[in-house]
Symmetry: C2
Subunit: 382 residues, 2 copies
């Protein structure tokens, strides 16, 4: 099997997510937005797709780095092709991002699944045919009745539990929200949520990412008292030794990371090797795709360390279901004003439909299990 | 897809390998021998096969541990099924060996490949469509013209280079051979081979496995002077700290291990974590199959450590070709008196045909690429 074409379509749709001055998303009025469909097609007509952001399909990047390493190659040899593109990254002047690597890798795995007639989550090990989801809230905001106060979080958490979730992760308040960052406000929201949902719901926190060591420790100690499962990225992750220090000082709370630190599976190896995390983070869009995610999960498994997947979508779901040591799928970001269950205009179904017990059930369709509306996409090309 | 039957056939064939009093193989007259064909069959009639030793298909083990965890299950979910059987190991009283885990895992992967229409080496990453082989000699012996003297090794190494090999691994003299164990005799054979093949052939040594620290270090220093690539298992591997000590004292020679140490990918994680090896060893029959081998290779890749595959056969070949960080396929064991190229009576082709440049070319057939003579097997059942 050989790859014949590598194509991308940028298309318009609407979005009800507004970005604040620091880049975090909040509910907003419907506005025009764009996304991209990246497609790899074999000579036999089998196609693999990845949905991504429009900047990831920059024609210059595709022409210079992606197509020369894919066209004419055997798409089944996914990790070989990953390395072929990856090795161009060093001298690409930053053009060839990990997101591009991830986009290619996801499309290749979708194609491999379709060419094989198998769902990708099975090819990755097939551990779980349903994965418990945690509700991942948006960051705090200043919207009345939104996520503006600890009580707002508590009321929303009650609704999430009614919806079926058995686990909830809060994102705290970040600048430019009034009063943020403030570990005391974060802790108050966490306490309010624990009070609201009782002891049997698993809780996690993903707070402001630029706290000091002392603030991070203070916050972590409060989370220990509230029986939280993990805390993510309370400090800049480039300082791995700060995380070694934090992990060694918080014996009851798991530190999960790294998430945004560059360096793919190699950086995750360093964090595990050096005890900088209790659980290791991967995410197909953070580390360059499914292949490096699988390596991270396997590496962590050698040390009885769980590998928790960051972010949503069919690729992350396939990894979470495939490997033995991923506990949860992250479902979100969620907000009282938004309907997460509704498909986007370019989807026939969302990737991660959840049942009333809080499980996302894996699909048996070949490939990644995405159900895209190609007619919509073709009718809305930019 | 569901598994309908799990069957095993024990069959007779001939062997020209004789075992000495310590269990090492040497050339001998043709004698009766037996092997087993282990087969997993889906309701749709797709079959996966593993060839193994007759004791591995003990009917009691299959009935108690293997069939209850496979029958009715989806064979595509290989790592889930691996864990299902593995968890019975602890209380099996030693009956459920890692070899049984490996046998099941190999048959599952053969089935997955066939159900998918894909060769397994591609599904594992597909890094290499041909893998350089090293010639792995039998242990030294006392057979005139065999491997009885350093000069015998040198002459045989010259022949191996003519055959196409670009790398050769010696197994040294082991008890009960006269004079063994003796690091000086091992070193003399290594020096004679280096002298015979020149500087451009890669050489490795797998000596007696029960040397002392001081003997292992003395031997390793001689191998450094002879520009050997690696040394394997010169001491009992249960003492990991002895290997930390040896690795730290041999900066030019790579220590490759562990091979026979129990504990699958977890033990390999410890060796890498603790700097007890420079390259890590896996082998599908040593660690319980392809799934743990992939985890070991991925873990090692996170630390820029190569993962070298122990042993022959289609499963080890698939791993060696699939992952980026395996340098060689081990081809052997070889001896001047034996024809490795001839298929066994139960094979239509050997698994690892090698070209005149020393490469084993991967096959494009679905599954593991084994080419078995089922008619022979059925005509020779025990």
């Amino acid at each position: 099997m050989r790859i014949e074409t590598v194509t991308a379509k940028v298309f318009r749709h609407s979005s009800t997510i507004a970005r604040d001055s620091d880049g975090h998303g909040h509910p907003g009025p419907a506005v025009p937005a764009s996304s991209a469909l990246f497609t790899i097609t074999s000579y036999t007509g089998v196609q693999g797709h990845a949905l991504t952001r429009a900047p990831d399909v920059d024609p210059a990047v595709l022409d210079r780095f992606v197509r020369p390493n894919l066209i004419g190659q055997d798409p089944l040899r996914a990790d070989k092709l990953w390395y072929g593109i990856y090795k161009w990254q060093r001298l690409s002047g930053g053009l060839l991002t990990d997101r591009v690597l991830a986009m290619v890798d996801l499309a290749l795995w979708d194609l491999i699944g379709k060419a094989s007639g198998q769902p990708v989550w099975k090819l990755l090990g097939g551990h779980k045919d349903k994965v418990p989801a945690y509700a991942s809230t948006m960051c705090g905001d200043d919207l009345p009745g939104g996520l503006a106060t600890p009580d707002d979080y508590a009321r929303y958490a009650e609704w999430l539990v009614q919806r079926g979730y058995k686990a909830i992760k809060l994102h705290g308040w970040m600048p430019p929200m009034p009063g943020a960052p403030d570990v005391r406000k974060d802790a108050a929201a966490c306490a309010a949520v624990r009070e609201a949902v009782g002891p049997d719901i698993r809780l996690m926190l993903d707070p402001h990412h630029f706290y000091s060591r002392s603030d991070a420790l203070w916050l972590g100690q409060r989370l220990e008292a509230l029986d939280f499962l993990w805390m993510e990225e309370p400090m800049e992750e480039a300082s791995m030794s700060s995380y070694q220090w934090l992990s060694s000082n918080l014996t009851r709370l798991n530190i999960l990371g790294p998430e945004t630190a560059a360096g793919k599976h190699w950086t995750r190896g360093e964090w595990v090797r050096n005890g900088a995390c209790d659980m290791v983070r991967t995410g197909v869009w953070d580390v360059g795709g499914i292949n490096p995610s699988l390596k991270i999960a396997h590496m962590a498994e050698c040390f009885h360390i769980s590998c928790e997947v960051h972010g949503t979508g069919a690729g992350n779901l396939a990894v979470a279901a495939g490997v033995p040591n991923c506990t949860y799928y992250e479902r979100g970001l969620l907000h009282p004003f938004l309907d997460y269950e509704a498909p986007k205009e370019y989807q026939l179904r969302i990737d991660d439909e959840m049942d009333s017990d809080g499980y996302v059930n894996l699909r048996d369709m070949p490939g990644l299990g995405q159900d895209l509306d190609f007619d919509y996409i073709d009718a809305n090309l930019i």
